[in-house]
Every structure is written in structure tokens, then in C-alpha cells.
């Protein structure tokens, strides 16, 4: 073991791929990529990608301290070795070209004694500082100029031999400090040249200013923690020192007391500043396998620094901070385990001089680890799905959303669907294909079916728009119906009979399951199933309709020979024990659930009794059939509707529905319909999949107003709206709200033309939003769309020609108005008449949109009905909306008691950014009827505020201005 032996490691300051390891020997290594060297030479791996090869080595006997020169011309690292006798020798470990003639030079003190530390200056690279033990008649710190005050060792020997008295030949140090003192450690400061920091006499830190060699000004402090001084790189004034278990940070300008005193549980072995990042100090404790990293935080209070960028700052940094005392520095502490494996204790480390946060550590075992200390990586998701995190070197790394596609996250899927108008298609079934998902597709198909049954009058008196099986089964007085019991013979198996149940409710339930009642409907289902390539299902459906012959025919036509064998087994149906036992074992082995169900159904059918016997009370046990859960839910439910008695059916449906709801299986909507029962199921499904979109859309399309008021539903809708906002899919957002506030007329086929996006609206009676001249419109693009008059009146304005903002500004007020009028060629794309708005909305004639004739500014004009006028006016007056107030009288709607409320919306939309936010100004405000809703209008310009709406929840949404890029 090498423990106990001192091991040190040191990167060369100029050769970025070379370092020395200093133990019993001094070895020079070169670091290369393993790929490049693995074939050629032996190497010591230092990391997963790098290996170190030995370049040269020499014995280190007698060597007390080492430093590598920063002289840039040196082809190989030039080492200064400090020996036990005080001699300092310059050497390169490798024989090489020596342009400066420095190799072999030696420097000796007058009196031999232990050399404690050597340090090359990195500023004046010829300066070498040497720290030595005490001698009462000599100085302990010597500064050598390696070019001048040296002798070559050969010459030294010669001169020794010749005449040791030749004083003139003796080298003279550049400077000497500390007469009769001890220096433990020296290092050059980085904040000014020729400044040396030394730990001395067990209790001092001294800073020598050597710029004027005659004065040698000294700044000093007394501390027990004076060892191992280390100067902050990059010109900072901080100095670190250590003592037993304590690290201190000092400010070289104010040495009286340490800035920081950092306690460590164990004695400190090493302390070093990170050369590539400011304020990062790393300490190594004895017998520790982790490095402790201190990030020193200091608040600056010098305002002079800021002046240079005051142009940008504006009034950013004010003087208020000066009044407070500057808080002292503090540290963020962090332990870094070098390497990933639970490492052996570290004995030394060395920061790489140039590469960011890279260091080389030596374990007690002698192993070398090349490690990069990872900085805090911060990470963030964007609303659009892009991911950003901080990489090395102050870079931001961005991952665009294409990787989303590969991850197939629900947010990606949802966005894709939203872009295709998923859920917004006028016919429910149209959404099924867009979903591209079996469960969702089934859901939409079912909802469409349910809706059509209601519309056709098959299902009446349903409290829900989209009833499910449970709803229809108990629609007439909760479970109060009685079914007619129909004992039936299987026509093709005359010795078999089953009991079927019949009632109007069951018929409707069967229709919901897609089965229909009667053989004609069923036969169609059978043929469909066969055409779909599921002969087993077709056969089972036929058999459940008691048409065993048809079932056998289907199976006989099937491709698979196995199915024909099954047909054989079916045909041989009997009560013989042999057959039943064979069935028991064979059924489980059948691959298809429908085949198993088919066999079990037939086996469960009771043998026919003589006609004069009354049917026994015995109920055939169909549980085996219903337990085939791989069968489709609708088939199972339909089967139950045909063969289970009222009580059993009720129980079965209730239990199944509860189980499906608990699992959050979307198929359960077949049972619950879009009813109150569906809420927990959809909630569960949402929680399992995260698909708030489908749930919100189903709610918007299919829920009754009562259900829409449920807090769960509003939460879904609000969440989905917020998601759409974030994606800036205004069309989808608008259409969603239109659906929520009442299904539009059937002829309304919302489709988002490529070049415009409407503003959805709802609720109120009459709302006009128009945007005038100052909007920076783009040719042919829509400036604004307005939504929602009297529940479902959607008008779209399309400017006929473009009027640049700049031009509008140039025009005077009058001309501006005229210009704006030209702009206003309004084009109503589509009008939709919805249902009446409510009790307080008499069938008032809707005004066609071109109401806004006079607005000449980029204003939002809101017209409201008289009921709202008075309170609105009051509020406006109280709020002192000057401009709004002024404009109020000018509205065309003065007659008829109509208030025109001018909301100063977008006065100066000068830039894209402004517009991009301005849409928010008219954010949906779902106000409580009868109350005012405060809409905050705000954009990057001067603050605006407006009150909009009243009695009739006004929702103006997202003027689509932001789509404009310029």
C-alpha cells in the first residue's frame, strides 16, 4: 500500500495534457484519449475515455516540494524541485530540447535547511519563490530570477572543486524576506504582479508587495489557520488558508478578519481555488473520498461597476441597496464524490489549469481519476414542449419538441389532436378517427350512437343527452320495470332451451350495445363481425341469438381448421358426461374468448323438458360466459341483457360499471353514458392517462348544463383551456367554448381556415369587437374576429386592405378615421344562430356585425344591453377610465339605450411582442351572471384596465393578433 507515502499531483500550467504525480518518484504523465493510445502503448486509465501514459520518471528522494513552471516557451514541463538541504533545482524529467537553457540550474540558500515550498509566478514566469525553515541569520523566503541568479550544476561542481570562496560567482536572489523566520508555504498572488503570499511562523499570513524591492511592504494577519495559502485565480482578492479542520477565506485588502471560516469535521489535507470559475473553493479532508466544494456568494455594493452598462440598465439598479449594509459572504456547500464508484479515500487533487471544472484526483491506492465537477444543471420545460437545460461553458442546451414524438407523451398527442380539430367536429363519430386510439374511438362512436338513438326517439325521457345502458335500464322508475320471461328453444338444437328476457328497456340497452333487437338486426351484426375477420365473434353472436346453425355455418366458412373442429364439438352438444368433461378441459384451451363463451353458453343451456312441465325455477348459470372479460364489453352487456333476470342484470350492470369506473376504463361509458356516473370514471381515466383533452371535449360536447357545473367538469375544462392557451391554439379554444355554451346549430361546421382564427364568444346579448386602424394588419390576414353574440352568433371580420401602423400614425385624427373606415370592409364569413340566450333575452333581433362604423382606433368596442348600462357606467366612472369615458358617448348605439363601452384594448400595437400579449388582454372572463367581471388589460405599453361584461358572461377570446409575425 502506498498510504503513508505522500502523494501529490500537479497539472502543468502550460501543457494542458501533462501532469506529474509525485510520490517516491516523480513521474510525468501525458493524458490522451484511450481510443488513440490503446493500441500503441500501456496506459493508466484515468476516466472512461482517457488514459495517462508515462513520459518520464525520476526518483524523488530528498525532494520536499515541487512546482511546475509557467514559462510558455518550455517544450516540456519544467519543474522546480526543492530539496531537504534547501537546494532548488530546475529539471525536466524528459531529456529534451532546452531553448532557454534553464534545465539543470540550481539555487541554494546560504545555509542549508529544509525547503518547504517552491512557487513559480504565473505573471512573471521567471520568478521563483522558495520558502524555507528558519535560520537565525538568514531569510526564509528567497525570490529567484531563474534567468539571472543561477548557476548550472556542473559549473557549481566545478566551482566547488576549484574555489568555494569565489563570492562573486555565488548567485544572488532577487529578494529575501523573513530574516530568522519560518515560511511554510508561499504562493504568488493573482491580483497584482510581484505580490507574494506566505504562511509563516505557525501563525501569520503575510502578503509581500515586491513591486518596489527596496521597500517590500508587508501586510499581515495573525491566525492559527495560516497554512496552505492559496490565492484566488482570475485576479480576485480572496485568499484561502487552512488549519486543522478549518478553512478560512480572506480578503487581501482587509486582512484583519477572515471573510469566512469554514469548519470541517476532519483535518484538511488540501485547499485549492478552481481556476476556471470564480468563487469556487475546493477542500479535501484527510481520509475522505469526497471533495467539498464551496461556492462563495458575495453581494457587491460598488455602484461604479454598474455605470458602464447603465445604458442598458436604465434605472434598474437603484441606490437603495447602499443604505443597507452589504451582507457578508456566504457559501453554498456541496460534497462531490469523485468518480461514480464508492471511491477509496483521496489523498490529493489538482485542478486543471484551463479546462472547465476538471480536476485530477489521486486515491490512496494510487489510482488516478480525471473528473469534471458538474455544475448545477438547471432545467426547464417550455409550454410548447421544448426542454432547456444549462450545459457546460455557460451554454444553454435546447431540445426541440421533435423528441416528444418519440417519447409519445400525452401532451404531444394532445397537441396533435387539437391541431386536427379533434373533438370539435360537428358529428361525434368524426372525432373517432382523429383520436387514433381504440378506446377513444370507441368512446366517440358510442356517444354518437347514443345521441342518434335519442334523436330518433328510440330513447325517451333520458335525463342525459347521451344515456348509457344503466340509464335506459332504470329510466322508468328506478329499476321498476319488469321483463317478460320468454322461454325459448334453440331452433337448431331442439333438445335445448334457454330463458330469455324481454322488455322495452332491454331493447334500448341492446341498441346501445349495437346489437339491436331481433334476428334481422343481429344478423347484420353477425355478418359485420364476420366481415371484420372475427368469425369467432360472429359465431358467438349468432349463437347468443339462438341461431346455432348460423354459428356453425360461420365457423365452417372460417379459414382456420381449428374453428371447423370447434364447430364439430358444438354440433355434438350433449348432456353426456364424457362430452361435458371434454368440454371442461377443452374450453379453457380455446384461443378465442368468443369460442369459449359460445361453448359455455351452450353447455349452460338447460336440457329441454317435456312441454307439459312448467319451466323449472332453475336459472342457468351464465357467469362463465360473462366472465370471459376478453369479450367486448358491449357483447357481454348485451348478453346479460338477453339472458339475465332483472335482479341479476341490475346487479351485473352495477358491479361492472363500478369496476370499470374504479379502473378508469373508458369503455365503461357504455354503461354510464354521459351522466353523473360517468364523472368518476372519466376522472379516473384522466388521472391514469393524463388526457385532459378528451375528457374536456366529451364534457363540452355531451354534458348537460348541470353536469357542466360540477367542479370536476369545470376543472377539466379550465385545465384544457389553459393548455390550449399555452399552445396558442385559439381556434380550438374558441370552438371548445362555443360547444360548452351550447351546441351550435347543426349546419355549423366549424373549420378553421388557414388564415384566420376567430375569437370565441358566448353568453351575452350583443358583443361587438372590432379593431381599427392602428392594428398592424397583414394583408389578407384577419385582424380580429369576434365571437359570440346572443349565444352562438359568430361573426368574422376580415379587413379588406391593410393599413400599416406607421401610416395610421401619420394620418391625422380625421384622416385616420377615414382610413380606418376603408379598412373596415367587414366580411361576415358565417353566422350562426344558436339557442336563445336565457330568460332575460327576449328574441331580440340580432344585428349583423357591421355595427362598428365609427371606431377609429384600435379599440375593443363592446356593446351591451340596457340592463347592464347603468352599473357599467358607474363602475367606469369610479375607476376613472378617462378614455373609455370619453368615447362612451360616441358609440353608435346611443339610441336604444345601448351602451357602447370602449375598452381601450390595444392602443399601441407596435411590435410583435406587444401583440403577442395583447390577445391576453381580452382574456376569457367567465363572470358570474349579474356581476361585473374585471378584465385586466395589459400589455407591454402603458397599463390599461378595463371592465367588460356584466350580466351576460362575456367571453372574448384571444384576438388572434399574435399569430402575426413581423
Amino acid at each position: 500500500m502506498m498510504s503513508g507515502v505522500k502523494l501529490e499531483v500537479l497539472w502543468s500550467p502550460v501543457h494542458h495534457d501533462k501532469f506529474i504525480l509525485w510520490g517516491p518518484d516523480i513521474t510525468l504523465y501525458e493524458v490522451s484519449r484511450i481510443k488513440e493510445i490503446e493500441k500503441k502503448t500501456t496506459f493508466t486509465p484515468v476516466s472512461s475515455t482517457r488514459g495517462a501514459t508515462v513520459l518520464a520518471s525520476q526518483s524523488a528522494s530528498g525532494v520536499r516540494c515541487v512546482d511546475i513552471s509557467a514559462i510558455p516557451e518550455q517544450p516540456e514541463p519544467l519543474l522546480a524541485l526543492g530539496y531537504a538541504n534547501g537546494r532548488v533545482a530546475l529539471t525536466t524529467l524528459k531529456q529534451t530540447y532546452d531553448p532557454l537553457g534553464l534545465v539543470g540550474r540550481e539555487f541554494s540558500p546560504r545555509y542549508p535547511r529544509l525547503c518547504n515550498s517552491v512557487s513559480w509566478s504565473h505573471m512573471e514566469t521567471n520568478m521563483l519563490a522558495v520558502a524555507m525553515e528558519k535560520n537565525r541569520s538568514d531569510h526564509c523566503i528567497l525570490i529567484w530570477d531563474v534567468y539571472r541568479g543561477s548557476i548550472l550544476s556542473e559549473e557549481a561542481k566545478v566551482t566547488d572543486a576549484a574555489s568555494s570562496s569565489s563570492v562573486t560567482e555565488a548567485p544572488r536572489p532577487l529578494a529575501e524576506m523573513g530574516l530568522s523566520e519560518t515560511a511554510h508555504c508561499v504562493t504568488w498572488a493573482n491580483f497584482s504582479n510581484r505580490t507574494l503570499i506566505a504562511s509563516m511562523n505557525l501563525k501569520y499570513i503575510k502578503i509581500f508587495d515586491l513591486r518596489d524591492l527596496s521597500s517590500k511592504a508587508v501586510n499581515m494577519t495573525t491566525t492559527r489557520y495560516c497554512y496552505g495559502v492559496s490565492a484566488e485565480p482570475c485576479g480576485g482578492y480572496q485568499i484561502a488558508s487552512r488549519g486543522e479542520g478549518v478553512a478560512c477565506v480572506w480578503d487581501a485588502r482587509a486582512l484583519q478578519r477572515p471573510l469566512l471560516t469554514l469548519q470541517h469535521p476532519r483535518p484538511l489535507a488540501q485547499l485549492q481555488w478552481c481556476p476556471t470559475r470564480r468563487n469556487l473553493l475546493v477542500s479535501l479532508q484527510r481520509d475522505s473520498s469526497a471533495l467539498r466544494v464551496y461556492d462563495i456568494q458575495q453581494a457587491t455594493s460598488d455602484n461604479k461597476v454598474n455605470m458602464s452598462d447603465s445604458a442598458l440598465v436604465g434605472q434598474a439598479v437603484e441606490a437603495e441597496l447602499e443604505e443597507q449594509s452589504t451582507p457578508g459572504p456566504s457559501v453554498i456547500e456541496r460534497d462531490v464524490t469523485v468518480g461514480s464508484a464508492p471511491a477509496a479515500p483521496l489523498v490529493a487533487f489538482s485542478w486543471h489549469p484551463a479546462h472547465e471544472a476538471r480536476l485530477l484526483a489521486v486515491c490512496a491506492t494510487g489510482a488516478l481519476v480525471d473528473y469534471t465537477v458538474c455544475e448545477r444543471v438547471t432545467v426547464s420545460w417550455g409550454g410548447e414542449g421544448s426542454l432547456v437545460w444549462t450545459g457546460g461553458g455557460g451554454a444553454l442546451r435546447l431540445m426541440r419538441d421533435d423528441f416528444y414524438a418519440a417519447i409519445k407523451d400525452i401532451s404531444y398527442v394532445m397537441k396533435r389532436r387539437a391541431q386536427t380539430d379533434y373533438g370539435l367536429k360537428p358529428d361525434l363519430w368524426q372525432n373517432a378517427d382523429l383520436a387514433d386510439d381504440d378506446a377513444l374511438s370507441g368512446l366517440w362512436h358510442f356517444l354518437a350512437l347514443s345521441k342518434s338513438l335519442v334523436e330518433d326517439g328510440c330513447i325517451r325521457n333520458s335525463p342525459w343527452k347521451h344515456p348509457g345502458v344503466r340509464t335506459v335500464l332504470r329510466s322508468v322508475g328506478d329499476g321498476g320495470y319488469r321483463s317478460e320471461i320468454v322461454p325459448s328453444l334453440l331452433p337448431d338444437l331442439p333438445n335445448r332451451r334457454v330463458t330469455m328476457y324481454r322488455s322495452a328497456e332491454r331493447t334500448r340497452a341492446l341498441q346501445l350495445c349495437g346489437w339491436g333487437w331481433g334476428w334481422e338486426n343481429a344478423l347484420a351484426g353477425v355478418e359485420r363481425a364476420e366481415a371484420e375477420g372475427t368469425p369467432c365473434r360472429a359465431a358467438a353472436l349468432a349463437a347468443f341469438q339462438l341461431r346455432v346453425r348460423t354459428a356453425l355455418d360461420v365457423l365452417a366458412r372460417a379459414q382456420s381448421p381449428l374453428l371447423r373442429v370447434v364447430a364439430l364439438a358444438l354440433a355434438g352438444l350433449s348432456d353426456e358426461r364424457l362430452w361435458r368433461e371434454a368440454l371442461g378441459t377443452a374450453a379453457a384451451a380455446l384461443p378465442d374468448p368468443y369460442l369459449r363463451a359460445l361453448l359455455r353458453f351452450l353447455a349452460a343451456s338447460a336440457p329441454a323438458h317435456p312441454h307439459h312441465h312448467p319451466p323449472p325455477p332453475h336459472q342457468p348459470d351464465f357467469a362463465a360466459v360473462l366472465n370471459e372479460t376478453e369479450m367486448r364489453l358491449e357483447d357481454r352487456v348485451a348478453f346479460a341483457c338477453m339472458f339475465l333476470s332483472d335482479g341479476a342484470l341490475h346487479e351485473y350492470v352495477a358491479a361492472t360499471s363500478a369496476a370499470l369506473a374504479a379502473r378508469g376504463e373508458l369503455g365503461g361509458v357504455l354503461l354510464t353514458g354521459a351522466s353523473l356516473d360517468a364523472l368518476p370514471l372519466l376522472q379516473r381515466w384522466l388521472e391514469a392517462t393524463g388526457d385532459v383533452q378528451s375528457v374536456a371535449l366529451v364534457a363540452a360536447r355531451c354534458f348537460t348544463p348541470d353536469l357542466l357545473k360540477d367542479p370536476r367538469t369545470t376543472n377539466w375544462l379550465d385545465s384544457y383551456r389553459s393548455v390550449l392557451d399555452s399552445w396558442q391554439l385559439w381556434w380550438a379554444r374558441c370552438a371548445l367554448d362555443t360547444w360548452v355554451c351550447g351546441a351550435p346549430a347543426a349546419d355549423w361546421a366549424p373549420a378553421a381556415p388557414a388564415d384566420w382564427r376567430p375569437v370565441g364568444g358566448r353568453g351575452g346579448r350583443y358583443v361587438t369587437v372590432s379593431l381599427g386602424a392602428q392594428l398592424p394588419q397583414r394583408a389578407g390576414q384577419l385582424a380580429a374576429v369576434v365571437g359570440a353574440l346572443c349565444a352562438g352568433h359568430v361573426g368574422v371580420w376580415r379587413p379588406r386592405r391593410r393599413l400599416g401602423a406607421r401610416r395610421a400614425r401619420r394620418l391625422g385624427a380625421g384622416r385616420r378615421a377615414r382610413a380606418a373606415r376603408r379598412l373596415r370592409g367587414v366580411h361576415v364569413l358565417r353566422q350562426v344562430r344558436g339557442r336563445a340566450a336565457g330568460p332575460r333575452a327576449p328574441a331580440r333581433r340580432l344585428h349583423a356585425p357591421p355595427a362598428a362604423r365609427r371606431q377609429d382606433e384600435a379599440n375593443l368596442v363592446v356593446s351591451e344591453l340596457p340592463q347592464a348600462a347603468a352599473p357599467l357606467r358607474r363602475v367606469l366612472a369610479a375607476r376613472g377610465h378617462g378614455r373609455g369615458g370619453r368615447r362612451r358617448g360616441r358609440g353608435r348605439g346611443g339610441g336604444g339605450g345601448r351602451l357602447r363601452l370602449v375598452v381601450q384594448l390595444v392602443r399601441r400595437l407596435q411590435a410583435r411582442r406587444t401583440c403577442a400579449t395583447s390577445h391576453q388582454l381580452v382574456q376569457g372572463a367567465h363572470g358570474v351572471p349579474g356581476q361585473f367581471v374585471q378584465l385586466s388589460l395589459r400589455h407591454a405599453g402603458p397599463a390599461r384596465q378595463a371592465l367588460v361584461t356584466a350580466n351576460y358572461t362575456l367571453c372574448l377570446y384571444e384576438l388572434e393578433l399574435l399569430q402575426f409575425m413581423w
Binding site: 388521472e687 384544457y720 407591454a940 405599453g941
Partner: protein, 378 residues
Amino acid sequence: MGELTATNLFESQTILADHKDLIHDVAYDFYGERMATCSSDQYVKVWDSDGNGGWRLTASWKAHHGSVWKVTWAHPEFGQVIATCSFDRTAAIWEEVGDTAASGSEKGLRTWLKRSNLVDSRTSVTDVKFGPKHLGLLLVTCSADGIIRIYEAPDVMNLAQWTLQHEIPTKVSISCLSWNPSLSRVVHPPMLAVGSDEPNTTNAAASVQGDKTTACNGKVFIYEYSESSRRWTRTDCLSSVQEPVNDIAFAPNLGRSFHLLAVATKDVRIIKIEPIAESAASGNNGAAVRFKCEVVAAFEEHYSCVWRVCWNLTGTLLASSGDDCAVRLWKMQYLNQWKCVAVFKNEPVPGDSPPQSRPHTTYIRMATMANPSHMPFH
């Protein structure tokens, strides 16, 4: 994730942020079109997307006198507003002033004005967050001395005026906080989660234990606002998190009946917080447990320390970063099962070229993971 093969390569884009020091936080705005960064160099920078995947620096200013820890955007409804907090013991609110009339070299650079400086803290302000927008314009800060402060701008038009509404002392150092983003005010009262980075020394534990209200040595606390008492009270303390917490984030609620809280501590933790129905909880005079908390996932792939956690828009993907220099994505599988779906490593070969000359794009391998505990990048 059978579709993901090891050959799936995805391009990541590199932007040189040119901060002079470590970047502490990156925040996207509501639409993901703008980005703000803050750094130890005391600067805040704002980047705008050009719509084609490129990003342009549009503002850069010295915002504080110390390291800027966090930056956060207000909902765009309130304008282009960001808040920053710093080691210099202040939090600041900045608003962009749209001035594009400037010409020449100034063109394209936006001006951000400091609208308000919140100087109540006596120690470093460690986190700042705007409240959910349906609560109005709220701002919460927390500081190293453990005080949570909730500010409100009573007039959303006047960003210069912020009133300190609540001051909640916690007695432990608070490092991070997160608003519950739930939109449903009926179901979920305003809620905050705060995380403490107090080291686990015996002293701290003793002092925490000494206080009756905090008889729990967890590191994550839940505060809720009671409409009736008009106070924020600590309603829970997650005892499952015992190690110092570096970051905390509520997932966007998106209609769930429960909340998901990601905690960056020794590991990445996802905690499901399920409110217990009022009727059941109110039995013990309000002192009853309000939540059922369950740790649904704890991943140790980041070695010993996780720095940040962040949710995507739907709360179905979690990104985390940690001591292993990697960003990992965790995806919700069916029914709240979570697993790692991708690992983005910062190149482990720094120094082969100086950072400036690094290739502009790098390729990142997506991990194929049968078993989340076997990470191929180890």
C-alpha cells in the same frame, strides 16, 4: 417504449448564453416563446424565439448586487413581467417596456424596468414565484432565514405597489417553493409547498422538534390558505422527505383530483398528495390530516444529489438534473407508474475543445430502458 431504439438520435441546439458565471435558473414564459436566464454574474437575460427554433438575445441587464438565484414569468395576462430574487436579499419585479422606436445598435434590445424592489428579507432570497393567475397577481418569496412572504399587487395595473400580505416564519432555511397550480378554487384552496435545505444536524432537528407546530422533521411543508381565517397555515409536513431539498415542483394539475409534487433531494421523488374529503378530515377540529401522501416514485440515478426538477405542460413528464451531469426524463406510464425515458448527458469530455468552439449541435442518444434501474449511461 419499445419504439425507442438506441439509434434514435435527437438534435439538441446549443446557445451560448454568455453569462460570466454559473447560470442558476432558466424560465420559459407561458407560451414557451421567451426565455429568461439568471446567473451568478448578477445579470438577467431575456431570449426570444424567432419562431423557427432560433433564439435571440433581446435584453440583458444587471439586475442585482449578488447572485440571481431564480427568475420567473408572470402570466402574460399581467403583461411581460418577470420577478427575480437574489443573494443580495432582495426580490425585484421587472416589466418590459415596449420601445421599438430605438434605432441603430439599440434596435431590438428591449428595456426592462424595475417596477418594484422587495427588500423585506434580511437574508438571501432563495426563490420567487408568481401565484396562479386566478388568485390575482400574487408573488411569494422565501428566504434563507425561513420566512415565506406573500405579496400582492392590489392593482394589477400598478406594478410598483406590492403589499406584503402574509409573512410565514418556518424556522428552517427554505430553499425552494412551488405554488399548487390547480385551477379549481372550489376543490383546492390556494396551496404552497416549500422545501428546506437545512442540513440534518442534531441541532436543527432538536429545534424543529421543540416547536410543537413542526413536530415533524420532514423537509417539505405544505401551506394552505384558509378563506375563513384569512391565514396561511401549515397543513402538512411530508415526513417521507428527510434529506435537504434542492428543488420542488407541483405538476400542472390538469383536472386530477390529486396533486403531484416532485422533490429534488438525494433522489428524484414524486409524491402524490391526495386531499382527503372535508367530511372525513374535519372530524378532529381541523387538526386532522388533510392529505394522504404517497411516494409514487423515487429514483436514485442522479447519484447523491438532484438539483432541479421540472414538469412539462401536462404533468406527465418530469425532467430532473443532478450530480451525474445529466438531465433525465421520467414519464408517467399508465396509472402513475413512472420510468426513465431519456437521458441527456452534457458531454463528459470537456476541455477537448474550449467551450466556445464546441460544435453547434450535438446529438443525444435516447435511452432504451427495459428496466429503469439499469441506466446505460453509468
